[in-house]
């Protein structure tokens, strides 16, 4: 789960990680009031959306007076912000972070991630702060420091020293830096982060360390034990169909294509999307109804696909294991009766209770196209696309 920068900074404050003074605003007047409270210029006005590269898209502005705060806030709020990560349509800005500007001496990069191949927690740091870390990695890999931490034993003083040395930090900052790294590691573990990134982490002219930016993502699998974090969920940042799907525990991702699809199992769902693409069409979504799906979930999943205006046809591909074909068929029939189907629907069923499933579909009187196997299904999708 993604959270906003201002929310991440709230977590930082709670874990004694220094961040600039500031708060969140929802209107230009709000922003001015906050700027006034900060009691000094410049202040920084930052768009709060769930995407990186905000500076490049004009979503971060420096203001030296209240007038400039007003105009910056007016320019950013309520409009879509296009960044390298949002896609061309951008993301509408609904909130701003108004922060004290700092006198910056040096910018560093710092992040913590779970490293899947070693099963260790990896701290990544670099003296090239403010830049895209993937760019630094490509151009100047020696500039990147990587330290692996065994989650069973946790962070040790030696880890912090190793990073400080790699960053060439002055001795006078060594103590503060170790505390900072330990607190960040603590936050990472306690809140089940899947990403914690500070870019840049700055050294101010006053020789203090401050997290100028904060990007935190939480492991979706751990949300059951992160009730405090759940309040940070911002459904405005999510696709409306995906929000709807999440109500029914459906694993759904909305895409730009024209062929909807409903599949059981993530791997088969991805492979089915690929199959659709190979016919010359584009998948309109990813939808894994999962092994434990019941009729209601199938019905809602099918309804959500049909609600997507771009969908010109649907492919249902079920390999019944735990999810029985008759349960799937009942759900499809229910949804079709309630919402009606106005596009061709190809259904391929295989596995547990397949005969029963096919009987239910045939008896429904609905205009469904059955496919014998995947190859047949692909051919039938090609026909639909060709029309």
């Amino acid at each position: 789960m993604k959270i906003h920068e201002y929310q991440a900074k709230e977590l930082f404050r709670n874990h004694h990680i220094p961040v600039p003074e500031g708060n969140v605003a929802v209107s230009p007047d709000d922003a001015c009031a906050l700027a006034e409270k900060l009691g000094g210029f410049p202040v920084v006005v930052k768009a709060q959306i769930h995407a990186g590269g905000r500076g490049k898209g004009g979503g971060v502005k420096l203001a030296r007076s209240l007038d400039e705060v007003q105009s910056a806030a007016t320019a950013i709020l309520g409009r879509p912000l296009v960044t390298p990560q949002t896609g061309p349509q951008g993301k509408k800005v609904r909130k701003l972070l108004v922060e004290q500007g700092l006198d910056i001496d040096q910018e560093l990069y710092f992040s913590i991630i779970p490293d899947r191949s070693t099963a260790k927690i990896m701290i990544i740091a670099s003296r090239a702060g403010g830049m895209d870390i993937e760019e630094v990695a490509a151009k100047d890999p020696d500039k990147i420091i990587r330290v692996l931490i065994n989650p069973l034993t946790g962070i040790e003083p030696g880890h912090c020293k190793e990073i400080a040395a790699g960053l060439n930090l002055p001795d006078s900052l060594a103590g503060d830096f170790s505390t900072l790294v330990e607190n960040l590691y603590g936050l990472f573990i306690e809140t089940d982060c899947s990403l914690l990134e500070i870019n840049p982490l700055v050294i101010t002219a006053q020789e203090t360390l401050v997290a100028l930016d904060a990007k935190v993502e939480i492991d979706d699998n751990a949300l059951f034990r992160q009730k405090d974090i759940l309040k940070f969920r911002d459904t405005d940042e999510e696709d409306p169909l995906e929000v709807e799907a999440s109500k029914y525990n459906l694993n759904y991702i909305n895409l730009d294509g024209n062929i909807g699809n409903m599949v059981n199992g993530a791997g088969l769902a991805m492979a089915t999307m690929d199959l659709i693409k190979s016919t010359g069409a584009e998948p309109a979504n990813f939808l894994d109804v999962g092994g434990g799906a019941d009729e209601e979930m199938v019905e809602n999943g099918f309804r959500i696909i049909l609600n997507d205006a771009n969908v010109k046809g649907v492919l249902i591909n079920i390999f019944g294991g735990i999810l029985r074909c008759d349960v799937l068929a009942e759900g499809v029939v229910q949804a079709a009766r309630k919402t009606g189907i106005n596009v061709p629907v190809v259904i391929r069923l295989q596995g547990t209770n397949v005969e029963k499933g096919r009987e239910i579909l045939a008896a429904s009187g609905l205009n469904l196209i059955t496919a014998e196997d995947l190859n047949d299904a692909a051919g039938k999708i090609t026909e639909i696309v060709g029309k």
């Binding site: 059981n264 199992g265 019944g320």
Partner: protein, 289 residues
Amino acid sequence: MSIFVDKEIKLLVQGITGREGKFHTRQCIEYGTQVVAGVTPGKGGQAMDNVPVFNTVQEAVHETGANCSMIFVPPAFAANAIMEAVDGDVDVIVAITEGIPILDMMRVKNYLDGKKARLIGPNCPGIITPGQCKIGIMPGAIHQPGGPIGVVSRSGTLTYEVVYQLTMKGIGQSTCLGIGGDPVTGTDFIDCLKAFNEDSETKGIVLVGEIGGTAEEEAAAYIAEKVSKPVVGFVAGLSAPPGRRMGHAGAIVSGSSGTAQSKIAVMKEAGIHICDNLGRFGDFCAGVF
């Protein structure tokens, strides 16, 4: 022959009294697996059908001689259940549970270091040696005993699809297993490739990968260097958008890394026969093997 499990396996089931645990235990027994014990804390002394239930793995192993555990414990308690099985001295642990937090799995993975137990999963369909034993949730009937093909995959239903098409072509399987769709799993592709390469019954290998991480690339390097048997590969997720988690926690393209395209390129270079049309997977395998 087979890899990791055969008909001699004595299985215990952690979480046997839950809905899923009960259902799949019965399916495994029906397939012929020797299920000797169940474990549910607080329910020791009861029985699930005729299977005795114990409070702890240690007790179950001591009383029944179980040497393999299948885990259906919910995500919040699954990591502890796996570590309990490790301490209980079983040889093979098959963790079916989906949704275990990554930090928990990282602790488990480090805990396994230097221990004898082999962990398969989590978030996997399990392992089956057709005709001998089924430890997992896969539909047993689609498999054909006797080899000669070993199947290893990061997925569940996609594996069933692949196996089904093999069986339809009359191509049997030695052992089929899913290593799981999570970012951190126990057994990896290389462990399986090594075992299949050494297994006399296995004459060819099917490797089914997907986007995210570098497991396919590492497998390709290993195959190029060490595997003498023909390998057919398939990678799901060519059409997956970057930055989105495609159902499996581990299936995510980060920036430019972990894409299906790059994996396929590396696998082709390693001499793996890449099938690019899942609809014709069976035909493709019939051609290669």
